[in-house]
């Protein structure tokens, strides 16, 4: 149907409205399409000045159309266009890589720092579990299998000879290092995520998991220490353990943060409180995953290659120092924390 062939007197108002305003809408659509395709830099100054003006005029078209026109096609189109424009204009983001670097430079350390109370509790629970298990196994070696299942022990139990135990520490299997590291990482990531996820049940299961983790540690140490291999085992553990245990403690802390926020929401609604805690906890979990990747590499490759008690201890100590400085001493400004403080 050509435009010329139309009886002019009988236009419904939406037709006149479209004719008067659609140039703006098409122009806005074109600019949005360019931005959505990631070619925002191709917009020149004029386009950028025009964008908010076009957006407001489209919004006003929408509210006029809703009140005066019964043309559903027009209203649907304007709703869709305004929504697209709204999210582009008000959801302005800095570039992806800048956000990532900002995250690791500022947000992550700030989130970990904000969780220091939970981290201390988590550490304390692990230590209590470890000391208790150590004492129990030392007093009566039968307790050992209460903490560690036979297939996890792989012969590292109180009845093993000194030589067998020493072999488990120093016997390196140079093949499949990469696969072994990956396997350990996935396993530990699972444990950490579990500690985090279980936090929702008011932090109780998380605490149990942390105690259990501590018990496993304590029982192992007790077996090796009783055979005079305490120091060597410590070094074997430390090379990756400082990173890995730190990560699991942080995961437990993140779980506790959510659990406590759900149990004691304070002045917020229970859900709102969980949401707030969930966000900072999610930040910490990203850090935990990164730490576990590092720990997996150290455990699967570093430990097999470096077979020397002193260097193992040094590497482990250096890693611990690095994480502590990064998380607690490095200056970091968090946007989220800055907004929270009144």
């Amino acid at each position: 149907m050509s435009g010329l062939d139309i009886a002019p007197a009988l236009h419904v108002s939406s037709h006149r409205f479209r004719e008067a305003r659609s140039i703006d809408w098409y122009r806005l659509e074109e600019l949005l399409a360019r931005i959505e395709k990631g070619k925002a830099s191709s917009l020149d100054d004029d386009d950028l000045f025009e964008l908010p003006v076009l957006y407001r005029s489209t919004l006003s078209s929408l509210s006029v159309a809703r009140e005066t026109s019964l043309d559903t096609d027009l209203v649907t189109y304007l709703e869709s266009l305004s929504t697209r424009a709204y999210f582009i204009l008000y959801g302005v983001h800095s570039p992806f890589w800048r956000r990532v670097s900002h995250f690791f430079a500022n947000e992550l350390p700030a989130a970990v720092r904000g969780m220091w109370r939970e981290t201390l509790v988590s550490l304390l629970i692990t230590v209590v579990g470890a000391v208790a298990a150590y004492a129990m196994v030392t007093a009566n070696p039968d307790w050992y299998f209460g903490f560690i299942s036979a297939d996890m022990a792989q012969g590292r139990d109180p009845s093993a000879t000194v030589q067998t135990l020493r072999d488990t520490i120093h016997g390196a299997d140079p093949e499949h290092l990469g696969f072994f590291a990956t396997y350990l990482f996935v396993h530990n990531a699972g444990v950490a995520l579990l500690a985090f996820a279980l936090g929702f049940a008011f932090a109780a299961p998380t605490s149990l998991l942390m105690i259990y983790n501590g018990c496993t540690l304590g029982a192992m140490v007790a077996v090796f220490a009783s055979k005079g291999l305490g120091l060597e085992f410590g070094a074997w553990l430390a090379i990756h353990g400082t990173t890995e245990l730190f990560a699991i403690i942080l995961a437990g802390a993140a779980g506790m943060r959510i659990g406590m926020a759900t149990a004691f929401p304070g002045r917020l609604a229970r859900l709102a409180s969980a949401v707030k805690a969930g966000r900072s906890a999610a930040f910490v979990m990203v850090g935990v995953v990164v730490m576990l990747v590092v720990a997996g590499l150290l455990e699967g490759i570093g430990r097999q290659v470096v077979d020397n008690t002193l260097s193992r201890t040094l590497i482990g100590g250096a890693m611990l120092l690095f994480w502590l400085v990064y998380y607690y001493l490095k200056p970091a400004r968090s946007r989220a924390a800055a907004m929270e403080t009144p």
């Binding site: 149907m1 062939d5 139309i6 009886a7 009988l10 236009h11 419904v12 108002s13 939406s14 037709h15 479209r18 809408w25 931005i35 959505e36 925002a40 407001r56 919004l59 929408l62 509210s63 005066t68 019964l70 043309d71 559903t72 096609d73 027009l74 189109y77 709703e79 869709s80 266009l81 305004s82 929504t83 709204y86 999210f87 008000y90 959801g91 302005v92 983001h93 992806f96 956000r99 995250f103 499949h176 990469g178 696969f179 990956t182 990482f185 996935v186 990531a189 699972g190 995520l193 579990l194 996820a197 949401v275 969930g278 966000r279 900072s280 906890a281 999610a282 930040f283 990203v286 989220a336």
Partner: protein, 279 residues
Amino acid sequence: MAVDRLQREFVTSEGIDLRLHLGRVSERAAAFIIDLVIVMVTLFAFTLLAITAVVGSGTKEAAEATGIIWLLGFFVLRNCYFIAFELGMRAATPGKRIMRLRVVARDGGRLTGEAVVARNAMRELEFILPIQMLFAYGDGWLSWIAGLASTGMFLAFPLFNRDNLRVGDLLAGTWVVRQPRAELGHTVGQRRRSAPEFVFTEAQLDAYGEFELQRLEDVLRREDDLSLIVVARAIQRKIDWTGGGEDLDFLQAYYTALCLKLERNMLFGKRRADKHSKA
């Protein structure tokens, strides 16, 4: 109406309600499946590449490389994929784009990085971890039941709340809305100059309200012969039309006349929702 159940008020700072529509559970499931397929295909491609690259050095290395790709690559790939795309300009993964969905902060503010990270970190717990448990320790029936129960509980979660939120959305303070890409169609009901004049009485125009007008708009936009005939007959019977004329011309004329009348009344604050409400 089914549509209204998912409509949410979303007022911009200019004071206009954009009336967002939440994504249906079925649409979101479809989007997730598309994304999963893309990730899996990429993973297979990498695996093939790794196998062909190390095929000279023996099958043992190839097996090891495959193992690493599947364990670590899958973890890194799926998380980076979802987070990177949702942090992008359109706040949607390719699957969501195909299904015309996007992620939006529930409070109407900007979609922040931590919200995106939180909602995707929770996916690990909702979906991946239970599945992995299923495969890793899947020899006992108890772990099968535990895995299925926890996956099922998380997967069914969106069906049991008003806003179709998954647990990750709930915690991250986000929701997923539809963003249909509407094209501006032509105005319907424009009569050809050569078309004969149709004159309707007030009583004939009082037969219908806005709802019927908009259905008639649909019919005219589609211009499907059969529905044109059916609708024209129905209207002619209802308003006792005896003037004859082509079906298309008649419907366009009636649409225009009805639209003009209802829009005029609208300006005076008189709305008529459908034929059952008072004229």
